[in-house]
Amino acid sequence: MDSYESNLNKVRESGVDRLFSFANYLILLVVTIIILLPLIYIVSASFSSPQAVISGKVTLWPVDFSLEGYRAIFEHQRIWVGFGNSLFYTVFGTLFNVVMTIIAAYPLSRDDLIGRRFFTLLFVFTMLFSGGLIPTYMVVRDLGLLNTRWAMILPSGIAIFNLLITITFFRTTIPPELIEAAHIDGADDFRTFFRIVLPLSRPIIAVLALFYAVSHWNSYFSALIYLKDQNLFPLQLILREILIMNSVSASMLVDIEDLVAREGLRELLKYSLIIVASLPVLIIYPFVQRHFVKGMMIGSVK
């Protein structure tokens, strides 16, 4: 692509093309600003004073710079319990997901596996049809997983899209000759898998870990249906209470007498909370963006 661009650069651009190019940059600029606008607004408000927020003065720059919102978060125990829980579910959930996906994908990528098509179909079918919300809930209930940390980890198991990109990865990057050579040298399938396939799979493991980790960190619905104990709640459920249901426990605001200031802090807290909750993903994101892109691309090559 680079070479063709540089070739084309040698051809002088016509007036129409230059006009088009200019319009194109302009449109992209506007789109980018539209994407950024809500984010800038949230960041600005989170660094403003409660009074400025509640009186509707904050737009795209902090007004009366203050860190009150962040201070209120740091003093709120439940948010940190939620943060810890989310971290736990994300780390162990991702570990479980990645291991399961890899050990399922490798056999399914091998042409000499008898019943390969059947097993693949067994997995893919669940992408098109499922038993539904209630029957799945009943299975989790009957296994005694309700209201346990297991319910946050086991049911998610394997995402079929991720399984398919992993199979594609194995089929395209690990030549059958390599496996054959290992077999001829006397290695059995376990040995081949652990000594040859796994070391070559680092890129796909990175992609899988990222996909799964983000979905664990961001998910709220399984926690909503499977968990009752507040001490097990992931961050997203706490966020839902504060951001969506507008319930901030009174104890957080107890030392503020002024009603307006209290109302202000209640709103301000939401802005800071949005930032704090998204920060882990958004900090890591620029460094791992290319992995996500790679994953999407493997997915697009059937």
Partner: protein
């Protein structure tokens, strides 16, 4: 006579021997690859428990489920749960809401990532391109809860960005979240805002595989950029676009229901109640839990969805030669 006796086993010998040979290679291959099955065992057990057991449990859609009697013990009631849904006053609005929301989301969400990819593909200034990509992909990684939280704050009728903007222009501040007429627009366009960048990745990937010789030839022939986009880039994207369209129309009954649920309130429930939120409400939220009724609605949705995706895929194959499988 002797000839005849000999003939029997002889004629049978070929297929029989062939079968044995085949059997023994299967046996040999199984023996040689048994360790692969060991690897596959755990995922298969997981699949059976968490994906296929619920399909078995879905039989309660045809029963009157009671926890005391269990899945097998509960009495059969035929299609009672289904007819109850069809006759319910909720049936029509729930179906209409689901379809309107889905098709609106598809119509708005389908072309925009394609346009974004075509546009980004024209950018030669690398820094600009990378910056736009990084910024437009970012909202994809924000959780649904936070996205809806951002919507609440940004569109807040008093302190939100849109309210302040309206005030500054002397207009009455809009109340987006409390207005049932605005629900669909807010839902769909915030979805476009969140996903347009990430959805464009796949199209950019396809564009990078288009043969540069096509562009060079077009330039030699005097085609301008817009003409090259129309006659080279766009046709190059069509197969992928068709496949994605098939997939999304096959899933019209699903909607992004976790987001719908978070955006739901007593004011907009008339337009925001979709099949999945209704299933959840009836099954797990109402004071009298009705597992069978809820499962029946879910199953109906699942079966219709399955038929739909097969039909749409078939149609796409006939019309354009592109299909998912």
């Amino acid at each position: 006579m002797a000839e005849k006796l000999n003939k029997g086993p002889l004629t049978r010998h070929v297929p029989l021997g062939f079968g044995l040979l085949q059997l023994s290679t299967i046996g040999f291959r199984l023996r040689r690859t048994w360790q692969l099955y060991v690897l596959l065992l755990l995922p298969l057990i997981w699949l059976l428990i968490f994906r296929y057991a619920p399909m078995y449990g879905a039989q309660i859609a045809f029963k009157k489920y009671s926890p005391a009697l269990g899945i097998e013990g509960s009495p059969w009631v035929g299609f009672d749960n289904f007819t109850r849904f069809f006759e319910s006053p909720k049936f029509q609005p729930v179906i209409v809401n689901t379809l309107v929301l889905s098709f609106y989301a598809i119509i708005a969400g389908f072309p925009i990532p394609i346009l974004l990819a075509l546009s980004l593909n024209q950018v030669r200034w690398r820094f600009f391109k990378n910056a736009v990509q990084m910024i437009t992909y970012a909202p994809h990684f924000i959780s649904t809860v936070v996205i809806v939280g951002i919507l609440f704050q940004f569109l807040h009728p008093r302190i939100g960005f849109t309210a302040i903007l309206a005030n500054a222009m002397g207009l009455p501040p809009p109340n987006w979240m409390g207005n049932p007429d605005a629900f669909r627009h807010v839902f769909v366009w915030s979805g476009v805002w969140q996903e347009m960048g990430f959805a464009s990745i796949i199209y950019l990937a396809v564009l990078s595989t288009i043969d540069p010789a096509l562009h060079e030839a077009a330039v030699v022939d005097g085609a301008n950029r817009l003409q090259r986009i129309r006659h080279i880039d766009l046709p190059g994207l069509m197969p992928t676009a068709m496949v994605l369209l098939v997939l999304s129309t096959g899933r019209v009954l699903e909607v992004a229901f976790e987001k719908v649920y978070l955006m739901q309130n007593s004011l907009n429930i008339g337009v925001s109640e979709v099949i999945n939120t209704y299933v959840y409400r009836v099954g797990l939220l109402s004071p009298v839990l009705d597992f069978s009724y809820s499962t029946a609605i879910g199953l109906l949705k699942g079966v219709v969805g399955l038929i739909l995706i097969i039909a749409v895929n078939h149609a796409a194959k006939r019309l354009t030669n592109n299909s998912v499988w």
